[in-house]
């Protein structure tokens, strides 16, 4: 051994050990935080889960009990309509990007979508307010859906693109060589082959918007009445959590915890579905 190596070797080893333990420690505290938060939410929320929560609307202030049926229905309406709007558009843009990969226009579209993903959701809420709520003069479920649909687009587009570019071109050529049009080739060959990835993109999109309030504040607004109309304002679960959390009433807080558990469980289930899809539902080429 040369003197260079002897000198400081011990110190370097110790430094390395310290560094490694710091990385471990910080990583583990991240994990711990996840469990602390989830544990707290479930601890607070599970006791408030009862039949009334799912089957009743809100009670006036002062009366105890009541539920969030109106918000559960409202969330379903708003999210389903958003998905109906976003999925066809998002998948189409994804097909376009996969087809035109490497061209200038496609690059720009892809960049714009990345940037769109970073736009604060509340800004999207303002835009939809200006576009729809102001001209029509009223808050509505469908205006909220449009705001959420815009937020859903990026994950759907990205997943569709990334799935489609993995499909071998020979498959597309085989179909075209049989005389099929590009449209039919896409519909019957490419999309079915990529269905797993596209589907998980849609689920990621839904998971992303299911807990959103900000874009709904000035669009879907809120409504203590149960309604099935997309032209009326509706409550959603996250909106109810926000309203109730900012109130001083214990009973409302209890309901907000119940809503939180429903919402978080729903999103975790969606995440799990995505994971299962990613690992299992792959088409073999």
């Amino acid at each position: 051994m040369t003197p260079y190596e002897i000198r400081g070797l011990q110190g370097r080893r110790i430094k390395d050990k310290i560094f490694t333990s710091v990385v471990w420690g910080l990583t583990f505290s991240c994990l711990a935080v996840v469990f602390i938060i989830l544990f707290y939410i479930f601890k607070m929320g599970i006791p408030s889960l009862n039949w009334a929560l799912f089957s009743q609307g809100p009670k006036p202030v002062g009366e105890s009990g009541g539920g969030i049926l109106n918000a559960i229905v409202g969330s379903l309406i708003v999210v389903v309509i958003a998905a109906i709007i976003a999925i066809p558009v998002g998948v189409s843009v994804g097909i376009f990007l996969a087809e035109n990969r490497g061209r200038k226009l496609a690059d720009r579209v892809a960049l714009a979508i990345d940037v769109l993903q970073g736009i604060p959701s509340i800004v999207i809420g303002i835009v939809i307010y200006v576009w729809i709520v102001k001209p029509t003069g009223k808050f509505s479920a469908y205006s909220g859906s449009i705001a959420l649909a815009i937020m859903m687009l990026p994950p759907i587009i990205k997943n569709t693109e990334e799935t489609l570019i993995l499909i071998p071109t020979t498959l597309k050529e085989a179909s075209l060589a049989l005389g099929a049009s590009y449209f039919r080739t896409t519909m019957k060959i490419l999309l079915p082959a990529g269905i797993g990835g596209i589907f998980s993109g849609c689920i990621i999109g839904i998971a992303r918007i299911a807990g959103e309030v900000a874009p709904l504040l000035f669009t879907a607004f809120g409504n203590p009445q149960l309604t099935g109309s997309i032209f009326k304002p509706v409550d959603t679960i996250p909106k109810v959590i926000f309203t109730y959390a900012s109130s001083p009433y214990d009973d409302w807080h209890r309901i907000a915890w119940g809503g939180s558990v429903i919402l978080v469980s729903f999103i975790i289930v969606l995440n799990t579905i995505i994971k299962i899809f990613e690992s299992r539902w792959k088409v073999q080429f």
Binding site: C30, V109, F242
Partner: protein
């Protein structure tokens, strides 16, 4: 006849794809124009002093957004600062220490669970857990102890940023060329040295882009912050003061804004938020794209 329909159907389809793509692309521009037009009355009435004005008094039609600007900046940077060591450590753990295998896979999924919790639930949780702790701390320091304020909001916000920064930075770190790392190891470096002297410096622009994008997210984060920041349109005295961010002032006052100027002033705040986050995301994404190839 049948063939002609097929050709037409195909043409419509191809046309539709480009229309959908181009519309999505110009959406940002349409947003900008929409916001600009509808905030015009406010811009005209408030002038440039709007940015530096310290008083926000809607009743007197006097609008200065400086307190929100400061509140937003402090909250965002503070949360970024708090989350940075955790994000880098977790990104190193998952991207460099243990990039493959069952356990790191589970870890990654667990950290991603943080992204599954909605903003509003974070706010509510923070109100019950973080705010009382901060309140105790404030009492110990003999300060007014509302519990809510910049510090509380920043702590919760920093947790919300972790899954986002970790996934961005991990992605950057895992792209370090193996040859580069091996060269450093071959010279007898320890892992800590390889990381601090090779991996981090060679990925510094990508890591910065990751933090920049996280900052963009922090600036626009609305619900959790609205619940936790204390909603005070005053200039904050210190990091414990109740304050207001641009996003939370919009969330709280938009539907109650009476009068055109008030409403369009709030939209002006939104416009500013839009422009800043667009620029941040544009730069961040361009850097990430550049380092990915």
């Amino acid at each position: 006849m049948k063939n002609r329909w097929r050709v037409l159907e195909n043409k419509i389809f191809v046309r539709w794809l480009s229309i959908a793509a181009i519309t999505t692309m110009v959406l940002l521009l349409i947003f900008f124009i929409t916001l600009l037009i509808s905030s015009w009355p406010g811009i005209k009435a408030n002038g440039f002093g709007f940015l530096w004005g310290k008083t926000w008094d809607p009743v007197a039609n006097h609008f200065g957004m400086f307190p929100f600007l400061i509140g937003t900046l402090i909250t965002s940077f503070l949360s970024l600062l708090i989350s940075a060591p955790f994000s880098i450590a977790a990104a190193l753990f998952l991207g460099e220490f243990y990039p493959k295998g069952l356990i790191p896979n589970i870890f990654r999924n667990v950290i991603e669970l943080l992204a599954a919790i909605p903003s509003v639930v974070y706010g509510f949780w923070g109100l019950y857990t973080v705010a009382p702790l901060v309140s105790k701390l404030e009492m110990k320091m003999h300060m007014p102890a509302p519990g809510v304020g910049i510090f509380t909001a920043s702590i919760v916000l920093s947790i919300m940023l972790i899954p986002y920064s970790v996934s961005l930075i991990r992605q950057v770190i895992s792209m370090t060329p193996v040859a580069l790392k091996e060269a450093a190891y071959a010279l007898g470096s320890t892992r800590a040295e390889v990381i601090t002297k090779v991996i981090i410096p060679s990925n510094i622009s990508g890591i910065s882009a990751g933090f920049l994008l996280s900052l963009g997210r922090a600036l626009g984060e609305t619900m959790a912050v609205t619940i936790l920041i204390g909603n005070s349109p005053e200039l904050p005295h210190n990091i414990f003061s109740p304050s207001y961010t641009m996003a939370s002032v919009i969330a709280n006052e938009f539907t109650e804004a009476v009068g055109d100027v008030y409403l369009s002033t709030l939209i002006e705040v939104g416009l500013l938020l839009f422009v800043v986050t667009t620029i941040i995301n544009l730069i961040g994404r361009l850097i990430i794209k550049k380092v990915s190839y």
